[in-house]
């Protein structure tokens, strides 16, 4: 096994592109090392991206925020501007694992691990976040929901690395929220989850809305119909009921060790309602 720590994204891409055996990208390592220790993967090349310039920074730009691929989730929680603009994304990132794990893990890693239960991904999808992909043929920017294609699989080609996640600048009257269901209080993995992102008009009616569900299908689901039903409402009881019904209906869950199909369907609706209520309050809705 070869471990390298390149200083530029080009070097990292180059090494990955020419790798012959299985290769892995190391940021926080909270997924990779566990998988290696468990004997599930035996990479021949490990590319540590933490020393690459800019990858460990959160930058506030004219368009919003650029979160480098090596920024630990705990650092997201310490960034006041980001927390104020995207509280739902930050709370999702700060639910992963334990405090110790949050000091290592990254939202980019969470995205690329491609688990349908990834905590930060529904929040990022609801937020309309984008991923900057560097590869042998240059850079491209794609919607985060285009990254995972199935459990453990991504759309990234050989040699490609996500170098940053982009979040838009927030207008007035905007709010997001993320909730997951776990049987414990922490250090657990989502049985089902929901992220909601809203903007309101000046009268407090919902202007735009995005709803995403986690652990409800092979990939995180963007439920466009659920967003549609919220638009124009002030989140009255009837709208919340419709939201729950749509979300429950959109789920394509499985029965497994973490929960049943019935349970996931039902709780997806409950969580969507609760997350929407929180997002609405955060956006200044009453």
């Amino acid at each position: 096994m070869r471990y390298i720590r390149p200083l530029s994204i080009e070097d990292a891409v180059g090494e990955l592109a020419k790798a012959v055996g299985p290769a892995a990208i190391l940021a926080g390592g909270s997924d990779l090392l566990v998988r290696m220790k468990g004997g599930f993967i035996e990479p021949e090349l490990i590319v540590d991206i933490k020393a690459i310039g800019g990858l460990a920074d959160i930058t506030e730009t004219a368009d919003g925020f650029r979160i480098g691929a090596a920024v630990p989730c705990a650092v997201l929680g310490e960034n006041k501007a980001l927390k104020q603009a995207w509280p739902g994304v930050v709370e999702a990132a700060n639910l992963i694992g334990s405090k110790q794990v949050q000091g290592r893990c990254t939202i980019t890693g969470n995205l690329c691990n491609a688990s349908p239960a990834a905590d930060s991904v529904p929040a990022l999808v609801a937020a309309g976040a984008k991923a900057v992909v560097a590869g042998p043929s240059g850079k491209r920017t794609i919607a985060v929901e285009a990254v995972p294609t199935g459990p453990g699989r991504t759309s990234l080609a050989k040699g490609e690395i996500i170098e940053a996640i982009l979040l838009d600048k927030r207008p007035d009257h905007a709010g997001d929220a993320y909730l997951r269901f776990i049987p414990r209080t922490e250090m657990d993995i989502a049985v089902v989850s929901a992220g909601v992102n809203l903007t309101l008009d000046d009268k407090g009616a919902i202007k735009t809305a995005r709803v995403a569900l986690g652990a409800a299908a092979p990939t995180v689901l963007l439920v466009e119909e659920a967003g549609q039903v919220l638009i124009g409402s002030k989140l009255d009881e009837a709208t919340l009921q419709r939201l729950a019904k749509i979300c429950s209906g959109a789920c394509r869950p499985i029965d497994d060790k973490r929960g049943t199909i019935e349970f996931r369907r039902k709780v997806a609706g409950v969580l969507a309602q609760r997350a929407a209520t929180t997002a609405y309050k955060r956006a200044g809705g009453k």
Binding site: R184, K257, K266, V270
Partner: protein, 754 residues
């Protein structure tokens, strides 16, 4: 010296205080040596190949490719562990469980093992071992396994305990029955009868430290084993017998232990490590992964239990009956039998009958888990008791007080009770402020009682007095819960010296006589008895040395508050001699001073507890949070109250996990789906409230201080207490443990849909 174990009602100066534990610094600084912290020069890494099948004939094993891999020093199969058990069926099962001989009997059953120069090589070698299996139909559910058409796990097993020997083999290995009176008559007299069926899923002790050992076998037949265990003497017996070693030549040293709770009372990988070392001619370190711990150590039984209880309008129970089916894994056990004994032990019953069925399943071999078998029986019984109280319109505590066993009651499992604590724990609960605290919406309160036998057993200690007057105490019961602190307190109490002058250690198997394991809540009970006895023997020598120094008859020397005192007017001018004085002179008065003790600690007093629990249930998700929890338990005498409280809290914490989320989940393929702490959900710290405790002290008449074991009873009531609380919170009786959110939500939905 004759030892009188009877309760003496004395006053204490050290016992009952709360000093810092002697192993504390090492543990908080990370210096303590656990099983995997032992290392030897030239040691190899051992790894075990495990069956991926729940039930399969092993047709052949080809190890040749693995043997040829550079760095591999030994590969073994069952052939390298020949059967030396000489008709001892229980030992044969231990052997077969260590390394499958003809059939793999569960997902995770060991089939081969390697020792290599490093972990990577060992892992590669496992991949090169070719095992040809003939996969057989399997059964993992306890009720399905008991059916006539179920796949047979062992065609040599015919149900024992039936009036006629059955003609056909069965997965039901044994039927046992307990009770007295006539339940038919009792039910006929009842005004109210409640009958329900319950299930509990299989749980694991969940100790944080995986099984780990270093084995070193020499060509001359001597061997060493450093191991994390609850009973190194028992490990020595079993390993010596399985490997064909002489017991005295196998020295077993127990490490610090990161939890056992019954799961480290049994050998799993240790015989394999010794066999690897014997074949490789080098020491072998073998550490189980968490996956292996779940798949191939010894979880507790899954159960299916029917309970029927009848009562009069005045609240007297007229009859109680239970049928209990417990899974044993693929080898016979006596788990249902214990459940059948404990089920109704809290109550005074004229008519009671319990029947236990031991059931083989394709799961790992069941091992003890803290008051083994009692929590599931208590869950079923205490649920019905609560429901019956409601039916009668009686308060749940009052109903139990009315029917509680007392001194002189004939227990449901046979013996007549001496002084016991069930009544006092119930009275304490009745007047506890917790019972009157207000509850909010979606919250409910439950309470339940629990019983455990406790055990005494064979015990041996040495107490050595140094020339500086400090005392080293060598005990043979592994310290799983602070017993070195407790036993140091006992030595200090007896000798009349300060706790800081005593240092207790757990001695290896070559340094002391045989000791039973630390199980049955016996550690402090039995070793304190042996320590009192050993201290008495040392005091006899101290008195002799003082008498010799003074040149007076030993009968005139008494031992008080750490000093030899010449008794009587005529010795008025003799200043008392301290232990330190006598120790300093010992080289000139006859040599070292020590006290030894070997005894069988009989008369472990039975133990009772009553728990109170408040929960809050989210009616939309079925999520349950325990918001307040109180344990009231009889300790007989709390030697070190902090560690008694720790046992109470630990049992409650494990019970909470069991009640709400912990379970072995098997797929249709018979494979364990959740062999890790991510999906086998033990509670994390923030899941638990601070668990409040109240220690009652109803002296055990068979111990000089009145001590009873305290380690296990605390896990008996929680399943029931939480089930009763959930039932009171949401109005639905939960009959399946764990009460996980999907199960609660499904039950609520079923109720809502009518």
């Amino acid at each position: 010296m004759n030892f009188d174990p009877r309760y003496s009602g004395r006053n204490f100066s050290s016992v009952g205080t709360r000093p810092i534990r002697p192993d504390g610094i090492d543990k908080v600084t990370g210096r303590a040596r656990y099983g995997a912290d032992f290392n030897m020069a030239g040691q190899l890494v051992g790894r075990i190949l495990r069956s991926p099948h729940a039930h399969a004939v092993i047709k052949s094993i080809d190890t040749s490719k693995a043997e040829k891999l550079a760095g591999v020093k030994a590969v073994i199969t069952a052939k390298d562990l020949p059967d030396l058990t000489d008709g001892d069926a229980a030992m044969y099962d231990i052997l077969d469980n260590s390394m499958a001989r003809k059939k793999a009997l569960y997902d995770g059953h060991a089939v081969a093992a390697v020792a290599a120069i490093d972990a990577r090589t060992a892992r590669q070698a496992l991949k090169l071992i070719e095992v040809e299996y003939e996969v057989l139909p399997h059964v993992t559910d306890v009720d399905e396994a008991a059916q006539h058409h179920a796949p047979l796990i062992n065609d040599q097993v015919f149900t024992e305990g039936l009036e006629e020997k059955p003609a056909k083999p069965s997965n039901v290995t044994k039927r046992t029955q307990f009770g007295h009176g006539d339940v038919h008559k009792g039910f006929a007299q009842a005004d109210f009868v409640i009958e329900r069926s319950f299930k509990t899923e299989q749980t694991h002790q969940g100790y944080i430290e995986p099984h780990a050992c270093v084995a070193s076998v020499n060509p001359d037949g001597t061997a060493d084993l450093w191991v994390c265990t609850q009973g190194h003497f028992v490990y020595r017996q079993h390993c010596a017998q399985l490997l064909g070693l002489e017991a005295s030549k196998l020295r077993v040293t127990s490490s610090e232990i990161g939890g056992g709770f019954g799961g480290k009372t049994h050998v799993w990988a240790e015989p394999v490590a010794l066999a690897l070392s014997r074949k490789a001619g080098r020491p072998v370190k073998l550490v189980m992964t968490r996956d292996e711990v779940f798949r191939a150590s010894g979880p507790t039984s899954a159960t299916s239990i029917d309970v029927k209880i009848g009562a009069n309008k005045d609240g007297t129970i007229t009859a109680a009956e239970a049928t209990l089916r417990y899974s044993c894994g693929p080898y016979p056990g006596s788990w249902a039998e214990i459940g059948a004994m404990t089920a109704f032990a809290c109550y005074k019953l004229e008519n009671v009958k319990t029947v236990g069925y031991e059931v083989l399943v394709n799961r790992p071999k069941t091992a003890a888990y803290r008051a083994p078998s009692a929590p599931m029986a208590a869950f079923a019984v205490e649920s019905v008791v609560d429901e019956l109280a409601k039916e009668l319109g009686m308060d749940a505590v009052e109903f139990r007080i009315k029917n509680a066993a007392q001194e002189g009651t004939r227990s449901s499992y046979g013996p007549v009770y001496g002084p016991i604590g069930i009544g006092p724990t119930l009275e304490a609960v009745k007047s506890h402020p917790h019972m009157k605290a207000p509850l909010k919406a979606n919250q409910g309160r439950g309470m339940a009682c629990g019983f455990w036998f406790n055990f005494g057993g064979q015990t041996c200690t040495d107490l050595n007095i140094g020339m500086d007057g400090t005392v080293s105490l060598a005990v043979g019961t592994v310290d799983v819960g602070g017993s070195r602190a407790s036993l140091s307190l006992v030595a200090a109490e007896e000798l009349g010296i300060d706790y800081s002058q005593v240092k207790a250690i757990v001695a290896d198997t070559s340094s002391l006589g045989y000791n039973d394991m630390t199980d049955g809540s016996r550690g402090t009970f039995s070793s304190s008895m042996a320590t009192i006895s050993a201290a008495g023997n040392a005091i006899k020598i101290l008195r002799e040395r003082a008498a010799q120094t003074w040149d007076i008859p030993v009968e005139d020397v008494v031992w008080e508050k750490g000093h030899a005192i010449a008794k009587g007017e005529k010795y008025g001018n003799l200043a008392p001699l301290s232990l330190k004085d006598i120790a300093a002179a010992s080289g000139k008065t006859g040599g070292p001073i020590a006290g030894h003790s070997e005894l069988v600690a009989d008369g472990a007093g039975v133990s009772f507890a009553t728990h109170i629990c408040d929960v809050e249930v989210d009616p939309e998700t079925g999520s349950t949070r325990v918001i307040r929890y109180t344990v009231v338990q009889d300790a007989g005498k709390a030697v070190h109250p902090t560690y008694v409280e720790g046992q109470y809290q630990g049992g409650a914490a494990q019970g909470i996990g069991w009640a709400l989320n912990e379970e072995y989940i098997y797929g249709k393929d018979g494979r364990l789906q959740n062999p890790g702490f991510l999906d086998y959900r033990i509670p994390v710290c923030s899941d638990l409230p601070m668990i409040d405790t109240q220690i009652l002290e109803i002296p055990n008449p068979n111990h000089p201080y009145g001590v009873r074991g305290v380690g296990e009873t605390s896990i008996v009531p929680p399943l029931a207490a939480i089930a009763n609380a959930v039932s009171n919170a949401v109005g639905v009786r939960m009959t399946h443990i764990p009460m996980s959110p999907p199960r609660i939500l499904a039950a609520l939905d079923a109720e809502r849909e009518g």
